[in-house]
């Protein structure tokens, strides 16, 4: 059961929702991380586009990813935009993760449940979910807890 475009925008205030990425946000409501995959050539791409950059097919499917991957970039915000439950007293981690589905396919979010010292480029992560302002947000967790 899919919610209307109007309701979707209300659930994600401030997010730049378009015709091209709306399915990704609908997936979030089901706690599914959807990335675009070409139904013709099978290549993944991000962020969501209306056409496959590889083969120019418009037959694109928002498809669940496993969410396992490796941290590619890692930063810690000492200040940043207001967000519920984020106060930056402890610097807020933001990571770009290279997903196992395809080399170069990346998704950016935060890491939960780990000390900042343990959040490093090259660490393995898996997908998790938190709630923010009543909407699920895809996040990452370290696969192995640092000793």
């Amino acid at each position: 059961m899919s919610i209307t475009d109007e309701a979707l925008v209300e659930r994600f205030p401030g997010q730049p929702i378009t015709h091209d990425n709306a399915e990704h946000y609908r997936g979030r409501l089901r706690r599914q991380l959807l990335m675009n995959r070409c139904a013709e050539c099978g290549r993944w791409h991000a962020p969501p586009r209306p056409v496959c950059p590889e083969c120019w097919s418009f037959d694109i499917e928002a498809t669940p990813v496993q969410g396992d991957g490796t941290i590619f970039m890692a930063i810690f915000l000492h200040q940043g935009p207001p967000a519920p439950g984020v106060d930056y007293a402890v610097p807020y981690p933001v990571v770009t993760v290279e997903l196992d589905e395809q080399p170069g396919l990346r998704f950016t979010s935060t890491v939960v449940g780990a000390d900042n010292d343990a959040i490093r480029i090259g660490k393995r992560v898996r997908l998790g979910w938190i709630d923010r302002a009543g909407a699920p947000v895809p996040v990452f967790e370290l696969t192995e807890v640092a000793l």
């Binding site: 791409h45 590619f72 970039m73 610097p91 933001v94």
Partner: protein, 391 residues
């Protein structure tokens, strides 16, 4: 795909004059249009022109329609509103001149402290009105988009090469030392490495001094044919080559690597199309909106190997001058760059290059400067290059 090496406008179009209002890191009490207008009037007068001579107008903020009316420019046959940084404006204006869409373009850029730049800018009610989208709900912090992306790639740079914060710091120190020689610069107080290392972290691993400084102020340029420029008041700075380099993908978090982005396109093409390269220049302007951009430009341009730019700058630090002089002679962003003159999206870099080639750089003047190289913009969708020379 084979890169085209066409460059039919080489040395046929010139920057005939450049002018600035100077920059302040505080609310000026003026509008963006006021700053742009002042720089524009100064540059038209410096070139020995009048408002009737301007038939092309090129800038982003304010829009050309607004500045045309503010200045009462009677008739334009071409105008353009390109994207920052400002090599885009110079290249687009030059192309319009060379193609015959117009003859004499006023190019302008007004830097303006937007309400989201600083707490004090937010307190100015006129700035709040002038900052689009300020009252809209904002997306959360879980993104590498916009300026944050440079911090992400800084983390990657540290990871790949094991460099220390001092490597970023020397870029900031050089900028500040140069700004001390520039009366138009916003930040002229001397800075030490301890000052840098102790500065407030903003987005770790980058601190306050790794980021350019939000300012009020404007720059303006006259772009016209080399032939026309020769008859004007100042010696022309000829446009030898210009490149706007871009690769796909170019989003901040999808960009392939520090060695596979728009900077490589700029370097490959500018090197091939220009009559000179780094060994033959007198002054160098690598962009410095964030310090890691500067280090990567220095490496990608070929001054040193990947990961070695910090060491390169230390080796070429001139202790007597207290700043970088490559091979004892080539200053790097002698005006102080975006880090210390002010965040001008490279209009400051281009203006200083023109003034150096015209012999107008005051205390910063490189003796007999004849060739300047500008590598502007960052890694993603905004890498740009411009080579300028005297007659």
């Amino acid at each position: 795909m084979t890169d085209s090496m066409r460059n039919t406008m080489k040395n046929h179009v010139a920057i005939a004059a450049a002018a600035t209002t100077g920059f302040v890191a505080k609310n000026s009490g003026r509008s963006q249009t006021s700053l742009a207008a002042q720089a524009a009037i100064d540059v038209i007068r410096a070139a020995g022109l009048s408002k009737n001579d301007i038939d092309g107008l090129c800038g982003s903020w304010p829009g050309t329609h607004e500045l045309q009316s503010a200045l009462g420019l009677p008739r334009l046959t071409w105008s353009g509103n390109p994207m920052i940084p400002i090599v885009d404006h110079i290249a687009t204006a030059a192309a319009a001149v060379h193609a015959g869409l117009c003859e004499t373009v006023l190019v302008y850029h007004a830097a303006y402290r937007a309400a989201w730049n600083t707490g004090s800018a937010l307190k100015d009610p006129f700035r709040r009105i002038a900052t689009p989208g300020l009252t809209e709900p904002q997306p959360g912090p879980d993104t590498m988009a916009a300026g944050v992306g440079y911090t992400g790639w800084a983390s990657r740079y540290i990871h790949e090469f094991g460099v220390k914060r001092e490597d970023f710091g020397i870029v900031a120190l050089n900028a500040r030392a140069n700004a001390a020689r520039n009366p138009h610069a916003a930040m002229r107080t001397p800075m030490t490495m301890d000052d840098y290392l102790n500065a407030r972290m903003i987005r770790e691993p980058l601190c306050l001094y790794d980021m350019d400084v939000a300012v009020d102020g404007g720059d303006a340029f006259i772009v016209t044919t080399a032939q026309r420029a020769r008859d004007l008041a100042l010696p022309p700075a000829l446009i030898n080559a210009a490149v706007l380099g871009q690769v796909a993908p170019n989003e901040e978090d999808q960009t392939v690597s520090l060695r596979a982005n728009g900077q490589q396109v700029v370097v490959d093409i500018l090197k091939a199309k220009s009559d000179f390269w780094i060994d033959d220049i007198d002054v160098y302007f690598p962009y410095d909106g964030f310090t890691p951009i500067t280090l990567n430009w220095i490496e990608n341009a070929g001054w040193c190997k990947p990961g070695e730019a910090g060491e390169f700058l230390r080796e070429h630090w001139d202790a007597d001058e207290g700043r970088v002089l490559i091979d004892g002679r080539i200053p790097v962003n002698p005006h102080g760059g975006s880090l210390s003159e002010g965040a001008t999206q490279a209009s400051g870099h281009i203006r200083e290059a023109v003034h150096q080639l015209q012999g107008l750089a005051g205390e910063r003047q490189v003796p007999n400067a004849q060739r300047a190289l500008i590598t502007a913009g960052g890694f993603f969708f905004n890498a740009q290059g411009l080579s300028l020379c005297t007659e």
